[in-house]
Amino acid sequence: MIFDLEFVLSALRIATPLMIVALGVLIAERAGVLFLGAEGVMLCGALFGILGAVYVGDPWMGVVWGLSAGVVMGLVTAVLTVWLPTDQVVMGLAMNIAAIGLTSFIFRIAADDLQQMSPPMGWSAPGALSENPIAAFLFAVPPLAWLAVILYFVVWYMLFRSAPGLLLRSVGQNVKAARSAGINVVLVRTVALALAGGLAGLGGAALTVGWVRSFADDITAGRGFIALAAVYFGRWYPRWTLFGCLLFGLGEALALRTQVLGGNAHFYLMIPYLLTVGVLAFAERGCAPREVGKPYEQL
């Protein structure tokens, strides 16, 4: 009952939004920008995702709305932290707080229309395959979990196997050298933050549209920060970042399912956090991109 295919599916549902947001954080930080506002961007994506799904009547349009909201928030972050530039820590925290207020305000306006659950996002195995347990399981995996896997390969390829990725990493590693080489640092970081914001918004939509099909104030409840921690845990590499997200998902799914053993629910709910702290404590120390958090002054 505890360790079965449903357990894996539950862990995937929990980990999917984290994985997508973490990939966004990874891109931003690889470009040398501390993306502390990921939580707020995720929250905006969560709200606009559900708005899109409800008003258009199509969950995939909700995903597009969430992603678009994230891109806008990412560009706002770029204006504030790259173009001006302001302190990245302060601005990240301000973005998170502002996002709570903004989403709560819009949620109140639209609350009457959001009472009904948004349309489900799912697919089922075609007739001939529905009897096959492996096919049935693969079709039971949330569509956005598959998308997260695809995004992982795209981000990995983009960062480590492509010329734009090399530009992006060089800007995050040594901004003076990059500038001397003629790289437009502001442009690279702006594009990186637009991508990062889009992914954080998509992660928010994965939470509301792809998982619980409704919205509540502050529904992300710190998941953006967990994604941030997963990037640190993963030493700024996609593979280990994703592993960190999956580990948290497994821990939380385990915590919820072990309740069937009896005992105090709170004890089990500590599991994912203890697991995260434990793994972080024993994980090899990573080396962050050198320019992360440093404001870039244009000459």
Binding site: I109, A111, Q115, V212, S214, A253, L256, L269
Partner: protein
């Protein structure tokens, strides 16, 4: 998209109307004529949180619309700040301070004796009163409420497994779950009750996963009392193609095909009773309990039950409310 634009238009239209109304009221009615009250919520935007908090919001509307009270709502107040929030209202001249959750009992006990000129009302479950005369409680009998839920679920289940998912095992939940167990047993001795807790009252995803697990364990009827998280329980129920019994307010609008019925708590009625007691000067330091007769059952979903089953369930609820069906009172413990 057009609906969203219309929603924004409606909202600002209401705001303008409210401003105009306030302007018109200045000079025609004195604010001093109104009872000034504050209602403290643990959640934000209670109107949007179907169940317990929306019930309270309807009660607040009743105070404003029918009794002419001047009501201020404090939303999203964390437990450590409830006492100081209530204290601030009392210091600011509010005549009535209303608590909306049994989790606020400690603050109620702490603040009420210090401000004898303010009435502190608890509109939730409590087993005791603060040592003060300026207090009153208006609370449902959650055991009876659970029994009615149990009578419905016990007869509607096909798998003989029903699940109750709550935020935390507080007294109100323990009473409700105990009532469900005993109520269901009376009409279906083979029924098994699966209880689970999501760990808080706000986490929709977590509540969803906990409920999904109970469905995996075989429950085909799910009852939820997890605050904001109840939306997640409804989603799990819908995704798992099981049936959901709505808590406190009518949930049929949220997911018409999934909701079997809703058992309504007349929360607005408690506010009405409070307002009438205040108006007549008959507020006493006692717990005013609202029992089985005050609960109502929304029409049972005909897509899930036959006419015979519906008649049987409705009859058992009616007999229980009339005192003709005896259900033993057994306190179960949940961790």
């Amino acid at each position: 998209m057009g609906t969203f634009t219309a929603a924004i238009g409606r909202h600002f239209g209401r705001m303008l109307a409210a401003v105009a109304l306030c302007g018109a009221m200045i000079g025609t009615a004195s604010a001093q004529d109104k009872i000034k009250a504050a209602v403290i919520f643990g959640v934000s935007n209670p109107a949007s949180v179907n169940g317990w908090d929306r019930g309270h919001y309807q009660g607040v509307r009743k105070l404003i619309d029918e009794h002419g009270w001047d009501v201020t709502m404090a939303e999203n107040v964390p437990f450590p700040l409830i006492a100081s929030t209530a204290e601030n209202y009392a210091k600011s001249g509010f005549q009535v301070v209303i608590f909306t959750s049994s989790g606020q009992v400690k603050a109620w006990d702490q603040v009420a004796p210090n401000y004898p000129n303010t009435l502190f009302a608890m509109l939730s479950t409590t087993s005791s009163l603060p040592k003060s005369n300026n207090v009153a409680a208006y609370a449902p009998d959650f055991y009876s409420y659970g029994v009615i839920n149990g009578l419905i679920a016990g007869q509607a289940t096909k798998s003989n497994k029903i699940a109750g998912v709550a935020g935390l095992p507080v007294k109100a939940v323990e009473d409700m779950f105990s009532g469900i167990i005993e109520g269901a047993k009376v009409v279906n001795p083979n029924v098994e009750f699966l209880s689970a807790f999501s760990g808080d009252w706000t986490n929709i995803p977590r509540a969803r996963e906990v409920a999904a697990l109970q469905i995996q364990r075989g429950a085909d009827i799910v009852l939820g009392n997890a605050g904001v998280g109840t939306r997640g329980i409804l989603d799990a129920s819908q995704s798992g193609k099981t049936r959901f019994v709505g808590y406190a307010t009518d949930w049929a609008v949220d997911a018409p095909e999934t909701v079997l019925s809703s058992v309504i708590l007349d929360v607005a009625g408690w506010y009405d009773a409070l307002a009438k007691d205040v108006a007549s000067g008959k507020v006493e330091p006692k717990i005013n309990e609202f029992g089985a007769k005050t609960f109502s059952v929304m029409p049972l979903n005909k897509e899930h039950l036959t006419t015979e089953e519906i008649t049987k369930i409705e009859d058992s609820v009616r007999r229980y409310q009339a005192g003709e069906l005896s259900v033993p009172v057994v306190a179960h413990r949940f961790k």
